[in-house]
Structure formats: C-alpha cells, structure tokens
C-alpha cells in the first residue's frame, strides 16, 4: 500500500511538469502586457520598455521559462509584478479561507447527499423518494449566485441570523469562523449535494437489486445494517468518484462564491491577478490548483482500494 502511494506520487510529477509548461506559455501568448499596465495609460514606449526590462520580460521566452522553473524547484514562485510580495506568501495568506470554504462546502454536500440518496433508494418510487429527488433537481438547476443572494436576503438581511458576507479566520474563534462559512457553504454545496444524492440513489438502487442483499435480508439483519454496510459500501465507488469530481468543480466554483460573499480567498486573488496580467501570481495559483486536483485524484484512487477489496493496487 505504501509503495503504491509513493509510486502514485512520483507519477504525478510528469503531470505537474506538463501543467507548468502549459501555464507558462499559455499566459505569455495571451493578449495583454503587464509592463504597459504598470507603466500606466499615458506612458511612452521607452517607459514601457524600461519596465519590461526591469521585470525581465525582455529576455527570450525560453530563458524566462528556465529561470522560473529553477526557482520553482527551490520552492520560490517568484514575486508579484504589482505588489512586490512573494507569490508563495500571497497564496499562503489566501489559502485558509479557500480551503475552509471548500471543505465546509464538501461537508455540507456529502453530509446531506448520502442520507438523502440512501433514503430515496430505500423508498424508491414512493412519495419520500419523489420529494427528495425533486428537491435535488431544483438544487442542481439553481445557479450558485442566485441561491446565494436568496440565502443572504432571508438569513442575513430579513432574519439577521448570520452575517451578510465576509470571512473570519479560525484564529479569531470557532463560532465567528463557522458563522461566516454557513451561507457560502450552503449556497455552493446545494449543487453538489444534488449531484451526489442522485448518484448515491442510482448506485444504491443497482446494489439493492443484487443477490447478496437478498442474502443479507435472509439473515434477518436490521435494515440499517443492510442499507449502510452491505449496500452503501458496494455503492461507494461511483459516489466517491463523483465527490472527487465535485471537489475539482468546487475549486472553480469557489471563485464566484468568494466574490458574492466577499471572502478573501484564492478565487479573488486569481481574478485580480488575471485581470492585471500578474504572470508570477497566476502561474503560482494555477500550479497550486493543479496540485490540489492531482492530490484529490490520488486520494480518490487510494480510497477505491479501501472500499472494494477486488480492486488491486
């Protein structure tokens, strides 16, 4: 098992290398010039050239690439063109809100979706199933920003139960931290909840028709044991796969939610950096996002082996 994990970790290196290569050149070929933006709208051609030389952007592209890669291998992602702050510092400052939002969203989605999906499959084609699945379709169809504003209107503005927006670090106390995360997590989580609940239901329905479920019932086992152990464990692989896809989608979804709820996370940093053509920051962010997705994939793959003994690693 350990050997498998180490092997899989090494296998992620080529993926990350391709991402680095792609990110670097894609950004350079995208329209827009950071030197012109820094120099200002009325700057002369000489002034822009001077800024460009200062940033090293006048060097051949291949040379720039290798300089960046060498720095990267030493854990240095460069310095923001605009704020002169180290990219690693910028990112680590913004990491906590995004990680907190992603995990809490995931928690909301999974904690609701799996019971909903299991109950819907258990009571398939009955009223409970139809209600729950109708709700899931509604949740899936609702855009995040619409739901976000509806939630803000009722819970924050009308009833004043939760803050309208903002973020409080966990260092300031657990409740303020949680309080700020509830609305954004629910807004963002409902879509994923719907997706995961539907997969859970479908996967459970398939499993519940299997012979070994009949065997479990013929043993007179309690319904919860049949559903939650015998059936759910068999149904888990597709569910976990979708949760993994959900995490990947979440990382992009976070950009919108952070904007709506005014949370100073990586999503906002990304939007700002892209608009300003802050190359080192954008490169660093994309690498971090890519690494996160690769890591999630790895965790999902490893979890398969735990869930289903027939899967060899």
């Amino acid at each position: 098992m350990t050997a498998y994990i180490v092997r899989r970790l090494f296998a992620t290196l080529p993926v990350m290398a391709v991402v680095a290569l792609f990110v670097f050149f894609l950004l350079r070929f995208a329209p827009g010039d950071p030197a012109a933006i820094i120099a200002g709208e009325d700057a002369t051609a000489e002034a822009i050239a001077a800024v460009r030389a200062k940033l090293g952007l006048d060097r051949p592209m291949v040379e720039q690439f290798f300089v960046w890669i060498l720095q990267l291998l030493q854990g240095d992602m460069g310095v923001s063109i605009f704020s002169n702050l180290a990219v690693t510092r910028l990112i680590s400052q913004r990491l906590e809100p995004t990680v907190a939002l992603t995990l809490s969203t995931l928690f909301v989605a999974v904690a609701l979706a799996i019971p909903i999906g299991v109950v819907a499959a258990w009571k398939a084609r009955k009223l409970v199933d139809r209600l729950v699945m109708g709700f899931a379709v509604l949740g899936f169809a609702m855009p995040v920003f619409v739901l976000a504003y509806i939630l803000i209107y009722f819970f924050a503005v009308q009833w004043q139960l939760l803050p309208v927006q903002g973020y409080r670090p966990i260092a300031e106390g657990l409740w303020p931290f949680v309080e700020c995360l509830i609305l954004p997590s629910v807004a963002l989580g409902v879509t994923y909840m719907a997706l995961i609940a539907r997969i859970t239901r479908a996967s459970m329905l398939e499993v519940l028709a299997q012979d070994y479920i009949r065997t479990a019932n013929a043993k007179g086992l309690a319904t919860d044991r049949v559903l939650l152990l015998h059936a759910l464990k068999n149904a888990a692989v597709p569910i976990v796969t979708v949760i993994g896809i959900g995490i990947a989608l979440l990382i992009s979804g976070v950009v919108i939610t952070e904007t709506v709820f005014n949370i100073p996370g990586l999503g906002r940093l990304t939007v700002d950096a892209v608009l300003k053509r802050d190359y080192p920051v954008v490169q660093g962010l994309i690498l971090v996002f890519a690494a996160a997705k690769v890591l999630v994939n790895l965790i999902i793959d490893i979890s398969y082996a735990f869930l289903d003994p027939r899967i060899r690693y």
């Binding site: 398939a124 479990a216 019932n217 007179g220 068999n234 003994p309």
Partner: protein, 338 residues
C-alpha cells in the same frame, strides 16, 4: 394432511402473486405441504414452476414492490408467518429458518470478509460479542471443511472458488442452528464433482444438527440421492407428493413421468446399431400464469388428458402410504407403463 405435532413447517394453499406489465402472475397457486422435524423434503419442477417463489414466500422475502402472498397459511412451529410482524420475521430469518441460494458467486457480499458475513448473523441472533461470533464463524468454516479456516475468515469472497463460497453460505446458514434450512438450487451453479461434495456435506450436517431441509431443485438425480419425500410442482401448483422411493418406483402424475423420461441415463445400453434411445421431451410449453387456469395446468401437454381435465380442477387423490397425486386420470396413468 392434518396438522401433527411432528411438523415444523406447514404450508397450506399458498398463493403468491406478482404484478407485471402483462397482468398478475400467479407464481404459486395453492400449494400445500408439510415438513417434519429433521426431514429432508425435495421440491422439484422446471424453471418458473414457482418452487423458488415458494421458498422466498416462507421467509417472506418476496419484494413488496412487485409481489405479495395473496392467500394461504404458512405455520412455523404452529406460528402463523403470513401475518407475523416484520421485526419478529427478521428474528426468525437466518436464526430459525435459514436459506441458501443458487448463485454462490453473487450471493455473498463482495466487499465484506467471509468472517464478518458469518459473524454478523451470529451477533444478530445469538446476542453474543463479535469476538465470540468470530470464534463461532471459525468453527462453522471448519465444520463445512474449509481448509485453513482461521485464515479464510479474513478473506473476501472473490478469493474463494465457487464450491468454497457455497460452503461459506452453508456455514452462514447453519451458524445459528436453524430448525429449517431452505436450499434453493444449492448445487446448480457448481461442477458435478463439487455438487456431490456439497450435497454430501449438507446431509452430514443435517445428521449432526437435526435441521430439517427443504431442497429445491430441478434435478431429479439430486432428489433421488438426498431427499426422503418429494413435492412435484408444475405451473405454480403441486401435482404430486410422495416418499422418494414411491415417487421413483411408481410415479403417478403424467408430468412426473415426463420429467423422469427426460433424465439422461448412462445405464441404458446402446443397441446393435450403436444408437441409444432418444431422450423424450415433454411436448408443448409451460402455460402463461397471467390467465387463471380452470382445469389441470398440465392438461394441454398431457397424453392422458380428457375433456374434463381442461375445465375442472383435478382432485387430490390419496393412493396410500403418503403418496398423493392431483389428477383426474390416476387409474389410467397407473395402468400404463411409466
């Protein structure tokens, strides 16, 4: 067929129906039989005759979305099962009445260890700790002669062969010392040599534990070797019931005779030209069970059938010594050579 104290299971006029797109299927249509303590009863018939549905009905495992026990009575130790509460029924399943299924490859849960699957039954019904249940699981695997049983406890079903999996099913089914074991085609999916081993094992364990067995099969050879009494079913109905020697010695229902002629035999010598007699099939097809059948269900395929057979339900004829047959033309059938 009066209820006697020796019977552990009494099934009376059982009717189990399924709702399908073509209408209501009368999968079991008025079947009655008794099972004595410690007895081995065979239920024989071709695919779709309702024998498996009868078994599932006894354990009340008919999926409620599609099927139901429409009428009749199932008494276990004098207790009516058709109206028993679901929780009480769960207490019986796997404990006092156990079941083994046809497909050992798919009947065990692929993601739980063999040990867990046996032990959970013991924990559920015997109220013992997991540690004690695990010890019991080990004893049971040892009892069904799985080599290296201690190690096998932690293995998953895919690591075992088909024959071993069926042994695990048997170990599981017998782990709480049930009074009745229902075995639904337990050897059909196995190689012939493994079949014999599994049947032998079941009989040996029966001797040891005194569990009564209902053996459901389409294989008359299995019936002849293992059972004491046989119920022959056709189209959801019982057509003949007899002690096994009587049934093979003098089968009285035309359908039973048809079944016996359809058994391939190795003991018939080829004639001078080197040809063996062809196997005789039963002409025609099993009737559709969506329409009520007014007379005898077998009449359309029966060489003895008269006008009356098609329109009037045949009587149950008791020919003595526990041999009964449901037929209008018993005397003519008996007079003819089997």
């Amino acid at each position: 067929m009066s209820a006697t104290a020796g019977n552990i299971l009494e099934v009376r006029d059982l009717q189990t129906q399924f709702n399908t797109l073509d209408g209501v299927v009368r999968a079991v249509d008025g079947v009655s039989f008794d099972l004595a303590r410690g007895e081995t009863l065979g239920i024989v018939g071709e695919s779709g005759c309702g024998k498996s549905v009868t078994a599932l009905s006894i354990l009340r495992l008919i999926p409620p979305e599609t099927g139901r026990i429409a009428a009749g009575s199932i008494k276990f130790e004098g207790e009516e099962l058709t109206t028993l509460g679901e929780e009480a029924m769960k207490g019986l399943r796997g404990h006092r009445i156990s079941m083994i299924f046809q497909e050992p490859m798919t009947s065990l849960n692929p993601v739980l260890t063999v040990g867990t699957q046996i032990a959970e039954n013991v924990v559920r019904h015997m109220g013992v700790s997991w540690r004690a249940a695990r010890e019991r699981s080990f004893e049971m695997l040892d009892l069904v002669r799985i080599a290296d049983a201690r190690r096998r406890l932690d293995e998953y079903p895919h690591q075992l062969s088909g024959g071993m999996r069926q042994r695990v099913m048997i170990a599981m089914a017998l782990s709480c010392d049930p009074q009745v074991l229902i075995a639904d085609e337990p050897t059909t999916a196995l190689d012939v040599t493994i079949q014999a081993q599994i049947l032998q094992l079941m009989l040996e364990l029966k001797e040891k534990t005194g569990t009564a067995i209902v053996l459901i099969t389409h294989d008359l050879g299995v019936v002849a070797e293992t059972t004491e009494r046989v119920v022959v079913m056709y189209a959801g109905r019982k057509v003949e019931e007899a002690p096994v020697e009587a049934l093979f010695g003098q089968p009285l229902h035309p359908y039973t005779r048809g079944l016996m002629r359809a058994i391939p035999r190795l003991d018939i010598e080829a004639d001078a030209a080197g040809t063996r007699p062809r196997l005789q099939e039963i002409p025609g097809l099993v009737p559709r069970l969506t329409q009520p059948i007014p007379g005898c269900a077998f009449a359309p395929r029966c060489g003895f059938a008269t006008e009356r057979c098609h329109v009037e339900p045949p009587p149950l004829v008791d020919v003595g010594a526990g041999h009964t047959v449901v037929c209008w033309e018993v005397d003519r059938v008996r007079a003819s050579t089997p």
